[in-house]
C-alpha cells in the first residue's frame, strides 16, 4: 500500500473567491500539506508560480485579469520561465463538454468540477503524484498526453500529424501578462 506525504508537496491555489480559497486551504492542510500559497487572480498566480515553483497548481477558471485557462496556456510553454511540466488541476464551476475539452487542450492535467469534495480533490492529487502522464509536444500543443487510455487503439482525430489542431495564442497571452504585471 502507498500513501501521499502531503508535507513534501508545495501547492499554489488560484481562485478569486475568498470562500473557495479558504475551503481549499482547509482541505489541503487536512490532507497534511504545509505549503499552500494562494493567489486571487491569474497575474498574481503567474508571479507566484515563478517565485515559489509549486509542485501542484489548483486553478479556478473564471478569474479577473486573465483566467485559469489563459494561465494554464502560459505555464505550458516548453521554453518559458518556471516548470512547464507542473501538474495543473482545474477546479471550476464549468462542466460542459466544450469547456472540459478547452481545458484539456490548454494542457490542464486534471479537471475537477465544483461543487468540490474532499474525496474528489484527494483523488486528483493522487493521480498527478502517482501516475504522471508523459508530455506531448506538437506544433500546436504542449502538455500532458491527452490520450489517457493506452490499452486500446486510438480512433479519434489525428491531432499529432500536422498543424491542423487548435492554435494556442501563447505569445499574445504572454504580452497580456506582461502588460498587467
Amino acid at each position: 500500500m502507498f500513501g501521499i506525504d502531503f508535507n513534501k508537496l508545495r501547492f499554489l491555489v488560484c481562485d478569486d473567491n475568498a470562500h473557495m480559497r479558504r475551503i481549499l486551504r482547509t482541505l489541503l492542510h487536512s490532507f497534511g500539506a504545509r505549503e499552500a500559497y494562494e493567489a486571487e487572480d491569474g497575474a498574481t498566480a503567474l508571479e507566484m508560480y515563478v517565485h515559489y515553483v509549486p509542485d501542484i497548481m489548483i486553478l479556478d477558471w473564471s478569474m479577473p485579469i486573465f483566467d485559469g485557462l489563459e494561465l494554464a496556456q502560459m505555464i505550458r510553454q516548453p521554453d518559458g520561465t518556471g516548470n512547464p511540466y507542473t501538474p495543473i488541476i482545474m477546479l471550476t464551476g464549468h462542466s460542459d463538454k466544450r469547456r472540459v475539452m478547452m481545458a484539456r487542450d490548454a494542457g490542464v492535467t486534471e479537471f475537477l468540477a465544483k461543487p468540490i469534495s474532499a474525496k474528489a480533490l484527494y483523488q486528483r492529487i493522487v493521480n498527478v503524484v502517482v501516475s504522471p502522464r508523459p508530455f506531448i509536444k506538437t506544433k500546436s500543443y504542449f502538455g500532458p498526453d491527452r490520450r489517457r487510455n493506452t490499452t486500446t487503439g486510438y480512433i479519434g482525430p489525428e491531432r499529432r500529424a500536422g498543424g491542423k489542431a487548435e492554435i494556442i495564442q501563447q505569445a499574445a497571452l504572454l504580452d497580456k501578462a506582461r502588460s498587467t504585471s
Binding site: D5, M20, P115, K137
Partner: protein
C-alpha cells in the same frame, strides 16, 4: 523499457521524436511524496478533510448571504448603470461563484438557479436582448431560496422553482440559438464530468 526506467530514475528527460510530435518522459519529481504505508495504518486523509470541512460549516450561512449580496449588487449595477462589459462580467462572476459554491455551503437548489442564470449569460447570442425579467427572476429566485432555506417544506418549492427556471431558460436559449444548431447541441448536451464524486 528497463533502460527508460533507469534513465528516469537517474533524473533524465527522455524524448521520443516522431515526424510530427515528441513524447517527453520526464522523471517524476513528485515521487518523493509517495510513501509506503502498512495495511494496519488507519489514517484516512479524506475523512480528516471532511471533518475539517464540517468544522467550517458554521460559517457557510454567512458566506452564502455574502455571495447573495454580491449577486444583488451586480444586478443593481446593471439596472442603475446599464449593461457594459464590467457590469455584465460582475453579474456572471457572482452567479458563477454561487453555482460552484452553494452546494458546498448546503444550498444546492440555489446553485441550480444560479447555474440557469449562467447558462443564459453564456449562451445567449446577444445578452443585451435578454429580457430583464428573465434575469431578475433568476436573481430573485436565488435570494428567495437562500432566505427561506431553513423553513420547513421549502425544499420542494425551491426545487420546483429551480426546475421551472431552468426550463424557461432552456426554452429561451433554444429559440435564440435556432440558427446555431451546433451551438445548441453544446448547450443542451450533458456534462461529461463525472457527477456525484
Amino acid at each position: 523499457m528497463a533502460a527508460r526506467e533507469r534513465d528516469r530514475s537517474a533524473g533524465k528527460i527522455e524524448v521520443e521524436t516522431f515526424p510530427d510530435y515528441q513524447v517527453i518522459h520526464q522523471p517524476n519529481p513528485l515521487k518523493r511524496a509517495v510513501k509506503r504505508v502498512v495495511e494496519t495504518d488507519r489514517d484516512d486523509p479524506v475523512a480528516r478533510a471532511e471533518k475539517a470541512l464540517e468544522g467550517l460549516s458554521d460559517e457557510f450561512d454567512v458566506w452564502m448571504r455574502k455571495e447573495c449580496e454580491r449577486l444583488a449588487a451586480a444586478h443593481t449595477a446593471i439596472l442603475q448603470i446599464g449593461l457594459n462589459p464590467t457590469t455584465q462580467d460582475e453579474l456572471f462572476r457572482a452567479a458563477h461563484d454561487i453555482k460552484g459554491d452553494a452546494a458546498t455551503f448546503g444550498y444546492p437548489l440555489a446553485a441550480a438557479a444560479a447555474d440557469s442564470l449562467c447558462r443564459i449569460m453564456e449562451h445567449a447570442p446577444d445578452f443585451t436582448s435578454v429580457p430583464n425579467e428573465l434575469i431578475a427572476h433568476h436573481v430573485n429566485a436565488v435570494h428567495a431560496i437562500v432566505r427561506e432555506h431553513r423553513k420547513l417544506g421549502v425544499a420542494s418549492v425551491a426545487g420546483e422553482l429551480s426546475k421551472k427556471l431552468r426550463g424557461v431558460a432552456d426554452e429561451y436559449l433554444t429559440v435564440v440559438n435556432k440558427d446555431r444548431p451546433e451551438h445548441l447541441e453544446l448547450i443542451l448536451g450533458p456534462s461529461i464530468v463525472p457527477q456525484g464524486e
